[in-house]
């Protein structure tokens, strides 16, 4: 693993102006991703995971506005002129999407789509691009690469398409991979293959990975660290072991206990009561307050900030000690 680059995100906020008022989809999010590390970004639908990911590389369209700082390789991506940003995107930071069915251009051959990336970010000539495309297909495990490069996306299965997507993303040796629910649309056996592929590529290429998912099983199997998001904010971060062993935010606890566990003695499956709040009408104080069994009046007075309680461990809950102590209680 060569000296990689790390990504430092400070106070990232993304706001959309709507006729009903401004909606803050991402609210003061800070995290960093170290080289060769897999950071999981988890949370329910609408918690701002995908918007966070897109905000990092400027994929938010008007009326959306992004503020904060995203430091990569000594420069702030949010204030980079579009030409320089285009070189970073796809070159140094690549992204793969949730839907392999729609993220590929239906009328261009997959080989051509790989070559497009190489044309944009490398100085390879035609023959070299072709050779690299074959190499990439071998790398992501698509057999019969030479022939398959001539195929169109509809000639691939879902899992194979996600491999193609990964091959395109990896074409120019990115240092950071942003994966937006890369396995959500795939069935479980394929999920496992794709995740293993991402991990082995991380090891081989030494790149950092930000993995957005709502699947805690995926997090446990792949991530080094986790950031849990709720209503646009990070509510808890820590290593995978710490978070799964002793969640300190009631929401994290709720998420964990709502996952069925195989093997162990049967226990009731616990759902989190209620639904996430609308971003345009957040409750006062802690956004999770109305759904939380630990909530007190203090929770409704002010939004709890993210507290550092141990190295690499932060939580935004006034009662995190009570949450940690009360392991059996329903969240």
């Amino acid at each position: 693993m060569t000296g990689g680059l790390s990504l430092e995100v400070t106070n990232l906020s993304t706001t959309f102006e709507t006729p009903l008022g401004a909606v803050t989809a991402v609210d003061g999010v800070s995290f960093d991703v170290r080289p060769g590390e897999v950071l999981g970004l988890v949370g329910e639908s609408g918690s701002g995971k995908s918007v966070t990911l897109r905000s990092l590389i400027g994929l938010i369209h008007p009326p959306g506005k992004v503020s904060g700082r995203v430091i990569w390789n000594g420069q702030d991506l949010l204030s980079l002129p579009s030409g320089r940003l285009a070189r970073v995107r796809g070159g140094e930071i690549a992204m793969i999407f949730q839907e392999p069915m729609t993220a590929l251009n239906p009328v261009l051959t997959v080989g051509l789509q790989i070559e497009e990336n190489l044309r944009a970010h490398t100085a390879l000539d035609r023959g070299q691009r072709r050779a690299r495309a074959v190499e990439l297909f071998d790398l992501v495990g698509i057999p019969d690469a030479k022939r398959r490069l001539e195929n169109y996306p509809h000639q691939f299965s879902g899992g194979m398409r996600q491999r193609v997507m990964i091959a395109i993303a990896l074409a120019s040796n990115p240092r950071l991979l942003l994966a937006d629910e890369p396995t959500t649309a795939l069935d479980v056996t394929i999920q496992d293959q794709i995740l293993k592929l991402i991990l082995s590529l991380r090891d081989e290429l030494g790149m950092g990975v930000v993995l957005v998912t709502h699947d805690l099983g995926v997090v446990a199997a792949t991530c080094d660290r986790v950031a849990v998001m709720y209503a646009g904010r990070i509510v808890e971060t820590g290593t995978v072991v710490d978070i799964f062993d002793g969640p300190r935010h009631a929401y994290t606890r709720g998420l964990l206990s709502s996952v069925p566990r195989g093997g162990a003695e049967r226990a009731p499956l616990l759902a989190i009561e209620g639904t996430p709040p609308a971003l345009s009408a957040l409750p006062p104080g802690c956004a999770f307050g109305p759904r939380c069994s630990f909530a007190t009046d203090a929770c409704r007075d002010a939004r709890p900030g993210l507290l550092t309680i141990a190295p690499d461990r932060q939580v935004a809950c006034l009662h995190h000690d009570a949450v940690a102590a009360n392991r059996g209680q329903v969240a």
Partner: protein
């Protein structure tokens, strides 16, 4: 033991019927347009004062007109002019309108608003009236007709391209293109264009049929091709005074217009069908 396959699976048609028929008709007409002298029995403007306004006969299959010119020969020679109108009047609007529309659709915002007002202004006028007004200013003739059509017609292609690009640019693959750091020009012309071009090609085919009708209309009004050039509209205009006595003078050019229009429309339909199934 052999299993009888249903008959349908054995003869799989590779091209849709409209494309085969329309394309065949178009090819035949193109042949007439390129080599009219090889097919026409007489020169288009050779007068025969001994055979004025003769009804169809063995010597003159489509009859003769009031100057004794062979109607069949004039209809055949008119293919050169009318096919030229079909292509020349529409090819620039197609390329220019499609490109400009795609760029405007991708850019959105102010550019799209201004373009929207321009479209509103232009579609307020009936197409023919606008073209006639421009030709009247520039002066009659084929070149001026191409200019007049081009000035107005590109807007319709652009409008279609704007609408198509607005849909496509929000799809994941376009977003993926941006995430890969491709330039806007590259995304529009390399990635979106192949996805939006089908309806535009179909519209182009229809538009060529319309251009022939328009060319004939302007020829009829004396604003397009000028007599004595053999052109269907001009022929029908010449024949209008003899409609009751010499029907063949106007009916045969009329049939030629219908057939040309039909073949373009069929080809357009066929192209649409093949491009749809290729997805």
């Amino acid at each position: 033991m052999t299993i009888a396959l249903p008959a349908r699976s054995r003869r799989r048609r590779r091209f849709p019927l409209p494309l085969v028929v329309g394309g065949g008709m178009l090819a035949a007409q193109l042949l007439l347009a390129l080599f009219p002298s090889a097919f026409a029995p007489y020169a288009p403007d050779s007068f025969d004062y001994n055979a004025l306004m003769q009804p169809p006969s063995a010597a003159h299959l489509f009859g003769t007109d009031n100057f004794g010119r062979d109607v069949l020969s004039r209809v055949i020679h008119a293919y050169s002019v009318d096919m030229q109108i079909a292509v020349f009047a529409t090819v620039l609007p197609f390329f220019f309108g499609t490109s400009v529309g795609a760029v405007i659709g991708y850019a959105g915002g102010m550019a799209e608003t201004i373009f929207g007002r321009l479209v509103d202004a232009i579609i307020t006028f009936p197409f023919l009236v606008l073209v006639i007004a421009i030709v009247a200013v520039l002066g009659p003739g084929l070149i001026n007709m191409y200019i007049a059509v081009g000035v107005v017609d590109w807007v319709f292609y652009a409008r279609l391209a704007v609408a198509e690009v607005k849909v496509q640019k929000r799809l994941d693959y376009a977003e993926a293109g941006r995430a890969m750091g491709y330039s806007p020009a590259r995304i529009v012309f390399r990635h979106l264009m192949p996805n939006i071009i089908t309806p535009l090609i179909v519209y182009w085919m229809t538009d060529m049929a319309l251009a022939i009708l328009l060319g004939s209309s302007l020829g009829y009004l004396g604003l397009g091709a000028q007599p004595p050039i053999a052109e269907w509209g001009v022929q029908i205009a010449d024949a209008k005074n003899f409609m009751a006595t010499a029907w063949w003078m106007s009916v045969f050019p009329g049939i030629a217009i219908v057939l040309a229009g039909l073949s373009f429309s069929l080809t357009g339909d066929g192209v649409a069908e093949t491009m749809r199934t290729r997805r």
